[in-house]
């Protein structure tokens, strides 16, 4: 089976996911052809182990993101098995390439074994699905689910100039200060409780929230006592939330609070009291004061972002 990888880029360099796509193909015993749209990261891609050749796809059609134009420029260069990142753009290009070639697409795969058998979360992770592919397909891989390939290679680079009809145009860029998300829509929530000491200390939670694009929540105790907005309140009489990650800081975990957040996919609790009930529902618990834990958490998370 030959693998074609469409590189995921990060503006002007490869996104770390590209290494994982190549690693995934290598784990199936295959070398891969890597296509770099707009030529971005082609030199870097050539150095990654498992890459047989790099196609640096250039052309005006790559100046703006139009999934239709990109797919039309890229699909003729793709082989039997096509791997793309399950990022929004990756999913869109992959879908169009699959439809163009009349082959199925399987999105958001988290594991891949010989066969080829893949598994992917469905129902927002409430179940997993295992599928076997015989023949051509496009597969998008979830970022960070696969081992990244190392870079000790020197593969050849072909530059191919492509053209395609671009049917969309940017009329106006709207720069907006990133608003902090509401607790009901955020994928990560960091909430504080009475253990934060004073309302002013919530600024530390806000900083973390801004680093990872999280929402800031609060327990009822602090909403009532410190006059925080009710829309931040998580719990029985506040919002019921189900983020991927809920970080509870200085929240003891009264049953009314648990009622609003216990269905979160993962819960990280930070509390100085080792017997706090919040640890009973936490997947990860750190027994520490917020003063000690929050600065460390902030720097660890910003390291990941960069």
């Amino acid at each position: 089976m030959d693998f074609t990888i469409i590189a995921e880029t990060n503006g002007d360099s490869l996104h770390p996911t590209t290494y994982q796509l190549i690693g995934a193909a290598a784990s199936m015993g295959s070398n891969s052809t890597v296509i770099c749209p707009n030529g971005v990261g082609s030199l870097e891609a050539a150095k990654i182990n498992g890459v047989e050749k790099v196609i640096s796809a250039t052309g005006d059609c790559f100046n703006i993101f139009d999934g239709g134009a990109w797919a039309s420029a890229l699909s003729s260069m793709c082989g039997e098995m096509i791997l793309i990142s399950a990022s929004p753009n990756g999913r869109e290009i992959g879908s169009r390439i699959a439809a163009k070639k009349g082959i199925p697409i399987i999105q958001d795969v988290v594991s891949m074994t010989e066969g080829i058998t893949v598994s992917r979360p469905i129902y927002s992770g409430k179940a997993m699905e295992s599928l076997t592919i015989s023949g051509s397909a496009v597969v998008t891989l979830r970022p960070n689910a696969f081992e990244a390939a190392l870079a000790e290679n020197d593969a050849p680079i072909n530059v191919v100039n492509q053209s395609a009809d671009v049917r969309i145009a940017i009329q106006e860029a709207i720069n907006k200060a990133s608003e902090r998300l509401d607790v009901t829509e955020a994928d990560i929530i960091i909430s504080g409780g009475r253990g934060m000491g004073t309302i002013e200390n919530f600024s530390h939670l806000e900083e973390i929230a801004d680093t990872v694009g999280a929402a800031v929540g609060a327990s009822r105790a602090v909403v009532d006592e410190w006059g925080m907005p009710h829309r931040m309140q998580v719990g029985q009489t506040g919002k019921t939330v189900t983020p991927s990650l809920y970080i509870a800081v200085g929240i003891s975990g009264a049953i009314q609070h648990l009622a609003g957040m216990r269905s979160s996919k993962y819960i990280l609790a930070i509390n100085k009291d080792p017997d706090a009930p919040i640890f009973g529902v936490a997947d990860y618990g750190i027994v520490a004061t917020w003063e000690d834990a929050i600065p460390a958490l902030k720097s660890a998370l910003s390291d990941l972002q960069s």
Partner: protein
């Protein structure tokens, strides 16, 4: 978490597509707009005006009435609406009951064509709120001896007297008032600004706090001659209204009961004592199982009564039984739910104590529990036991 209605016998699967859609519409609205705001409304003792607007926009006021821009739904749909509203709060359902069954209905059934055309469209849209004046400070279960009277003054009527426990009184644009004209009970439409009419709000309730309750006071209240309802004389007028309202309550109480069951189940599953969820203990399971049993029976009662209402083969005693039974079990379910919630059950974090306090009113209004027993007793024996006089 999304509300999953307890429906052990799939009674709702008997609803028509239209009834199901109306149910979902009201249920979603209650989830999104009522439940998040009800505790504040209760604390402030107000009926939020947005709810009036929303009920009008959804088009559910006066649900089973046809024509005059009224919804024209089935009685079963009306019951379902009451149930969904009362899951939010009995005060909210009371608002809808009074508007539809007690104010719109008598105009629709006993009013003149002019009265219907003038009042009903604006009441169906929620623009005008109505109220219903029957009960008096000294005449509750015995309305026939009411004191409020009307005098024919030639070119107008003059009303004197007072009504009490009037839901929506102070926020109403109009009141349907029952008063004696030459010793015969007649219905009159009194408008907010009629001279000699006032509707002071009654404060200090521990029940139905998100509902407005008022007195209606008539001191030489002058109303035009065309405001009397021409189509009915005697107690049959107010009793026809009450039949419809009581029917709605028989469904509504199930909404409260389901809310209490839902909360109790959720709480019992998550509350850990002696290392295990209290739901794993037999005494708690016994309580939950009893709740399910009574709710299921109540649902069958309400649904079957709805079918009878729609088919027109019902008698008032059928309604008495359902109102009495379903309110009775709802109140007991609320109390047992409070018990399961332990001390937490008294907090406004949970809906329990609010429903419990509301249901104390619901048990009493629209024919007390005991009066309904007497209605059924009379049906069984043929002997009335309301009064010692024959």
């Amino acid at each position: 978490m999304a509300y999953e209605a307890l429906d052990f016998y799939d009674v709702d699967s008997l609803l028509t597509e239209e009834e199901r859609m109306v149910r979902d519409m009201v249920r979603d609205w209650v989830d999104e707009e009522v439940i998040p705001n009800i505790e504040i409304a209760c604390r402030d003792g107000v009926f939020p005006d947005e709810w009036r607007v929303a009920l009008g926009e959804m088009g559910v006021l006066g649900a089973p009435l046809k024509g005059y821009d009224c919804p024209g739904l089935s009685y079963t749909a009306y019951g379902v609406i009451c149930r969904e509203l009362e899951r939010g709060d009995s005060g909210l359902r009371s608002f809808a009951s009074v508007q539809g069954s007690l104010a719109m209905y008598p105009i629709w059934d006993f009013g003149s064509e002019e009265q219907k055309n003038y009042y009903l469209p604006k009441m169906a849209s929620g623009e005008w709120i109505g109220c219903f004046g029957l009960t008096e400070p000294d005449y509750g279960s015995n309305p026939g001896d009411m004191i409020t009277k009307a005098e024919d003054m030639g070119d107008h009527y003059l009303l004197n007297g007072a009504k009490m426990w009037i839901t929506n009184g102070s926020i109403a644009e109009l009141a349907v008032v029952w008063a004696k004209l030459d010793g015969v009970i007649r219905g009159f439409i009194v408008e907010k600004n009629d001279p000699g009419f006032s509707a002071p709000e009654m404060k200090g309730k521990h029940s139905l706090k998100a509902s407005v309750t008022s007195e209606l006071v008539f001191q030489d209240c002058k109303i035009p001659k065309d405001r009397m309802l021409p189509g009915v004389k005697g107690l049959r007028g107010p009793f026809s209204c009450l039949n419809n309202a009581r029917y709605g309550i028989s469904w509504g109480a199930l909404g409260s009961a389901q809310a209490c069951f839902d909360s109790a189940k959720e709480y019992a599953m998550s509350r850990i004592q002696f290392n295990h969820p209290i739901a794993s203990y037999q005494l708690v399971q016994n309580k939950l199982s009893w709740m399910l049993r009574e709710i299921t029976k109540g649902q069958l009662l309400a649904y079957h009564l709805g079918q009878k209402k729609d088919a027109g083969n019902w008698i008032p005693e059928h309604i008495s039984l359902a109102k009495m039974n379903n309110v009775d079990i709802a109140l007991e379910i609320a109390r047992v739910a409070r018990d399961i919630h332990g001390a937490n059950g008294i907090l406004d974090e949970y809906p329990i104590m609010r429903h419990m306090a509301n249901l104390e009113s619901v048990k009493t209004y629209e024919g007390t529990h005991d009066i309904h027993n007497l209605i059924i007793g009379r049906h069984i024996t043929g002997i009335q036991a309301f009064t010692r006089e024959a």
